[in-house]
């Protein structure tokens, strides 16, 4: 079986974020000598305008490293990242800062990602001075519009972050990200620090803004409930590699990979007397310095066969849009290099 590459379809919307064969290795000292830790192992994905792709995984899965590589907060070891066709990797710092007008970020904790000394007005004015040519009047009008976009009124203009609630701070972070009129927003656990009542409001806000501005979201989260609400497609990661990806519907309703099944069945549900049908993995996630040579889940997997320890499984298509890296779960599926973007 040879992997087949899908032909790109010309008539579809352009790709907003294109990540290809991304790899990040760290040289670390383990047991007295240098070893290579592969935090992200050959990951590729694409996101279209108006679409949300969720990266799901537990600690050590590599999802945050992908976020840092995509935004070039760390330099990837190999691979390419393109925003709207323009490269992010291998360009100068000056070119990169211009590219940030197309790529913005919203982080988990707005308390630490906002400058405590800057007022709401100053926080929103800064990206406008950096990324637009608006004059003072124009910027003032745009700040008012950004506030309205995130459902805050102008009475907040002179407040500082500590005078805002957690939800209001996250709205401000979102407005700041919108200021540059980006094509892609990277959302790194944007609701993890919020109460459940506020969480719903922020999700609704993000979805509305996505439609209005045609934004592509790369959504990083460990909260499966929020992922299900937010995303069109899901990529499940484990120890630096993709184990399963597909439409949100497919991954949640018909998970194939044992890790995905374990992850989904472990999430608590607000339902009294639920019959527990949990798929359990044995042991703990190994150290990223001791990733098994074959399938990464070997040693914890309830359905592993002898061959699993020998060869790293390829992604294989179970439907046109659903791929899984587990030959035991999907024996008839065909291997692919990349899953076609719907």
């Amino acid at each position: 079986m040879t992997p087949t590459k899908q032909a790109p379809s010309a008539e579809r919307a352009p790709i907003a974020l294109d990540v290809s064969s991304l790899r990040k290795e760290y040289r670390v000292r383990g047991a007295g000598r240098h070893v290579t830790l592969t935090a992200v192992d050959d990951v590729s994905f694409q996101i279209r305008p108006g679409e949300t792709l969720a990266l799901v995984g537990e600690s050590g899965s590599g999802k945050s490293t992908i976020a840092r590589c995509v935004t070039r907060l760390v330099e990837p070891t190999a691979g390419s990242v393109h925003i709207d066709g323009k490269p992010i990797i291998g360009i100068s710092a000056r070119q990169l800062s211009a590219s940030y007008s197309d790529l913005q970020m919203v982080f988990q904790d707005p308390t630490s990602s906002l400058d405590p000394r800057m007022t709401v007005a100053a926080t929103l004015d800064e990206p406008l001075r950096l990324h637009t040519r608006l004059d003072k009047e124009g910027r003032r009008a745009r700040v008012a519009q950004l506030l309205a976009d995130v459902e805050l009124d102008e009475s907040y203009l002179d407040r500082r972050p500590r005078q805002l609630s957690g939800g209001q701070r996250q709205r401000l972070s979102i407005a700041r990200a919108l200021a540059a009129e980006p094509k892609v927003i990277l959302l790194d656990e944007p609701t993890a620090s919020l109460d459940v009542s506020v969480r719903g409001q922020i999700i609704r806000l993000l979805k509305r803004l996505q439609v209005e501005h045609g934004l592509a979201y790369l959504f990083i989260s460990h909260d499966l409930g929020v992922v299900r609400q937010m995303s069109d497609r899901v990529m499940v990661m484990y120890l630096g590699g993709i184990v399963e990806q597909g439409s949100t519907e497919e991954v949640f309703e018909n998970p194939v990979h044992p890790y995905t099944k374990a992850l989904l069945s472990a999430a608590p549900v607000v339902e009294y007397g639920r019959e527990h049908d949990r798929l359990r993995l044995t042991g703990e996630i190994p150290s990223p310095m001791k990733v098994p040579a074959g399938c990464r889940l070997v040693g914890r997997c309830p359905i592993a066969e002898a061959a699993c320890a020998l060869k790293r499984p390829d992604l294989m298509l179970v439907t046109e849009t659903h791929a899984v890296a587990c030959p035991v779960s999907a024996p008839d599926a065909a291997p692919v290099l990349a899953v076609p973007v719907p």
Binding site: D195, V196, V226, V227, A267, P268, Y272, I285
Partner: protein, 266 residues
Amino acid sequence: MSAALLEVDGFTGGFENQPGRIDPVLHGVSFSVPAGSSTAIVGESGSGKSITALSIMGLAPGRFRRTAGSIRYAGQDLTAMTEPELRSIRGREISIVFQDARSSLNPVFTVGTQIADVCRTNRGVTRREARKLTLEMLDLVRVPESRRRMDQYPHEFSGGMAQRAMLAMALISQPKLLILDEPTTGLDVTIQADVLDLIVDIKAETGMTTCLITHDLGVVAETCDRVVVMRGGEVKEIGSCEQIINAPTDPYTQQLVADSRMVENR
């Protein structure tokens, strides 16, 4: 209903942020924890759930002032006790497990040493017996390779394993009441599920009473039989887990259940 092991009655208090002025945070909080129950105190940030739990342990911050009400444990008023009296109950009759286990452990001593210290203080055993007991406790909380792991330092423990170690420490004195303050918040979901299973199993084996403080109704639904809903320093609703999840009567509880369902995995 069985007799209440713990009874919080009209508990009211606030923070003395400036001398002589108390900013109220708890307004007449009343609920009971029946013996043998697994009671949850659920609320969002600022609901007063944690300060209530800390007050039960006599561990509320120094600037917290009780202005009215009582907390009775097995008939004794904890709020009227002196520190030495409280110490004879805290960690012996009532134990607590906090959210961030790794910061609850001392980084410069091995995990085994820290558990053994608690054994010697609470059970008055010899050093050798303490080590044996430590091993038994680590096995009880299903820490694999307990003999090797007891000589490791906290930084060598994952979050889930550290929480198991804290649980072991809390269980040494065979407490009648175990307070769990967000015990799985910050853990990965598969690890959270393992720790919750462990708590449920140990409770079934020992028959101890648990009081779980959490913001997560999903965790409540899977582990508790009674629920106290708090908001803004007040108790909004008390009921069986089934009633709170399936037929909440208070508008806030209804909203909380609806919001939790909206963002959950189904």
